[in-house]
Symmetry: C2
Subunit: 435 residues, 2 copies
């Protein structure tokens, strides 16, 4: 009768179980690095996004006037919100600040594979350190999250770049270059033909020859980064190359260098990045777009009215991450599991309830009948929820002070003294009671 809104999703239990397993695994890794969970509003003042990204952003926002006349927007990303929170308590917070959260965001965009109007991300950020170790810790926590999910080194690739190398090279040309426009062209280049890419660079102010040279420069191998320094002859490029190398060295110390490759063609779309940026790609190319990305944004806190505060972060998006996990065959199985179903035959609810309660207190997931169903209907239901063991509490069995334990995989069953069940067993199974 009512339709779900386009670009939004319902998650039924089977799929939700897999999503929860993935979120839990990502968050467990993030917590192990000492990142702390925060909670944030779904609505923020629209101007927070307009000031940062220009009026055009409004076209992509779910924005409106609330009943009190405030211009508000459903948050399209977390970074402005955490910047606001850092500024609000700047003096009290001990640095470095290491925060994470998993939650939905909203953008009014055309839905496509792996992209929805409501989408989930785990944002992970460090504020208050410009040290290359901070950039490397962001790479490390992201890589560890992926390997802890079952991905291997040949499944994914972190393409690492540096905004100041891109910007420094562009400003070293003898031309009036719109650096923002040129970096946006680099960011889009993988989706463009060589000619289209070239044209965008020329539109940004480079000559034909300069555009060709710039594209060539971006493909230098890692051991020839010095060539870029020589070409530009500026401190900015030299510092950026040194910084990038230091970050990769720190990633080596952190045990995640093998997941990283140099890729100056990677730029990240958002304007606020200032240093190292990176994107995670599916090594097989089957997931055609970046799975997620991150990078350094040292100017944002100051632009929000705070003390100058360096920052670096990453935000795995769960839709594209799911595509990668599925491609690699490590998406968690979408099935329901249940430890025990306590089946009632006749008026045995009080005994069944006592057994169910005992088993729950031992930490198990236990269902029992709450619908007055027949033996067969209960057994079918127990099967549908993946119950491992069914405890059959029947009126006749109870006359002999017994219940029946049924192993659902084998179908075998055994009579058990009701007073001895669950007894001393933490996880009683058929095998514990079979002769």
């Amino acid at each position: 009768m009512y339709d779900r809104i386009k670009g939004f999703r319902d998650f039924y239990p089977e799929e939700m179980g897999s999503r929860r397993a993935v979120t839990d695994a990502v968050e467990e890794t993030v917590r192990s690095y000492g990142f702390r969970e925060i909670g944030t509003p779904a609505l923020e003042p629209t101007e927070m996004y307009v000031d940062k990204s220009g009026e055009e952003i409004v076209d992509e926002l779910y924005s409106f006037s609330d009943k009190g006349g405030r211009e508000v927007a459903l948050t399209p990303e977390l970074t402005p919100t955490v910047a606001r929170m850092v500024v609000a308590k700047q003096q009290e917070l001990s640095k470095p600040i290491k925060w994470f959260s998993t939650r939905p965001f909203w953008r009014y965009e055309e839905p496509q594979q792996g992209r929805y109007r409501e989408f989930y991300q785990t944002n992970v950020d460090i504020f208050g350190s410009s040290d290359p170790a901070a950039d490397a810790e962001i790479l490390a926590v992201a890589a560890d999250a992926l390997t802890n999910l079952g991905l291997a080194a040949d499944d994914f690739d972190f393409r690492v770049s540096h905004r100041d190398i891109l910007g420094g090279l562009l400003e070293s040309f003898d031309a009036d270059v719109d650096v923002r426009a040129a970096i946006r062209a680099v960011d889009k280049s993988a989706k463009l033909s060589a000619a289209e890419y070239h044209d965008l660079l020329v539109q940004a102010g480079l000559s034909d020859a300069q555009a060709d040279e710039f594209v060539d420069l971006l493909s230098v191998p890692e051991d020839e980064l010095g060539d870029l320094v020589d070409f530009a002859g500026t401190d900015r490029v030299e510092d950026a190359v040194t910084n990038l190398q230091n970050v990769l060295d720190a990633a080596d110390d952190f045990g995640v260098r093998e997941y990283c490759s140099l890729s100056l063609e990677t730029a990240r779309g958002l304007d606020y990045y200032t240093g190292v940026v990176f994107e995670c790609f599916d090594s097989t190319g089957e997931v055609s777009r970046a799975v997620f990305g991150g990078g350094r944004y040292d100017d944002l806190i100051e632009s929000f009215g705070g003390q100058p505060t360096p920052a670096v972060g990453v935000a795995p998006g769960h839709a594209t991450l799911g595509l990668l996990l599925q491609r690699a065959g490590v998406w968690p199985e979408e099935t329901l599991t249940t430890d025990y179903y306590v089946l009632q035959v006749g008026d045995t609810r009080s005994v069944a309830a006592r057994i169910a309660r005992d088993l729950r207190e031992r930490g198990h997931v236990v269902e029992s009948d709450v619908a007055g169903r027949s033996f067969g209907a209960q057994l079918d239901y127990a099967d549908s929820i993946g119950a491992e063991t069914v405890v059959i509490v029947g009126e006749r069995d109870l006359e002999n002070d017994e219940v029946t334990l049924k192993d659902m995989a084998s179908g075998e069953q055994v009579q058990v003294d009701v007073d001895a069940f669950p007894g001393d067993h933490d996880s009683p199974t058929f095998d514990d009671f079979a002769e």
Copy 2:
């Protein structure tokens, strides 16, 4: 520079940690009963709420037209959404359907203590059973969630009522009663003076004498519920009284009868309730409003275009639940904890990183320096994050192949062979290495 929106909250790590502990405990209890997590959209068609509650509801909604001209609303509650989801997959879902989820909702209301414009609830529902055991299981899972959080029987009280007793009594009067208006008066009665309450009942169609009689009837003790049946002389009231007694009997079987008391003055505000309803109150009265509530709503699925499907649910709100936990002194402590801080002195990052990684792989929360801080600054930071053990990795110690293990509570420290750390210890502490 930017202000948070009124009625919305930021949660910094200390408070968020406590909220997370509470949410996890509630969800663990709910899962142990076999409820399955679902995921649901933040936006729904506005008409879904208007059809159900009338045009007035729009004043309380965050509703707007999206860029595609759809009339949408930030979801003010979950029940219509889960009803929509049940209807959408009615044939495939095996019954009873037992779902839960924790997420924010939004209402444009005046913020006050324990009430915000953005608020979190854990919704727990059973679809497909009209058996009293289903109502009782909802009472049981709610009570167990509270006791698992550390609350005791004298901390809270479930006031249980029945919509059909209220409605049946009202229609048994020889008067043209607006039952909805009268039930709303009952729902508000605790906040009204006796005279105001009386007036509202008279406005709903009762005479002065009938209003007095009705108020008297609602205060019958449990063992005199039969008086209501005698008074009304209708099957509706008789069935309702029997149903209420059966639900309380089932709650007894489920071990939660002691948390429930009869309270016909409890009505629940929402119109869609049809049978047993209940509200949880702070026994001391310090939390003056209902902590949360729930009940049976057997007609909603059909009104959403589905097959007739009985339903019963409960939705603990985390703001008022937090007030109750704080009042009872069982709100989780708002402090950060960290298992290990690996402190670097000089250029020891690679060894420190190896130790941090080893400890993380053993399941611990481990931080190390990512900001190039001094010894003192790192020790202060380790203290600020509640580190239990600090592993000091110093250049000079490393010349002797040693690191230093410092217990932060006692301040004691011991030198440890770097190759033997963490060695075979799953959770190495000062005590493991002290002579």
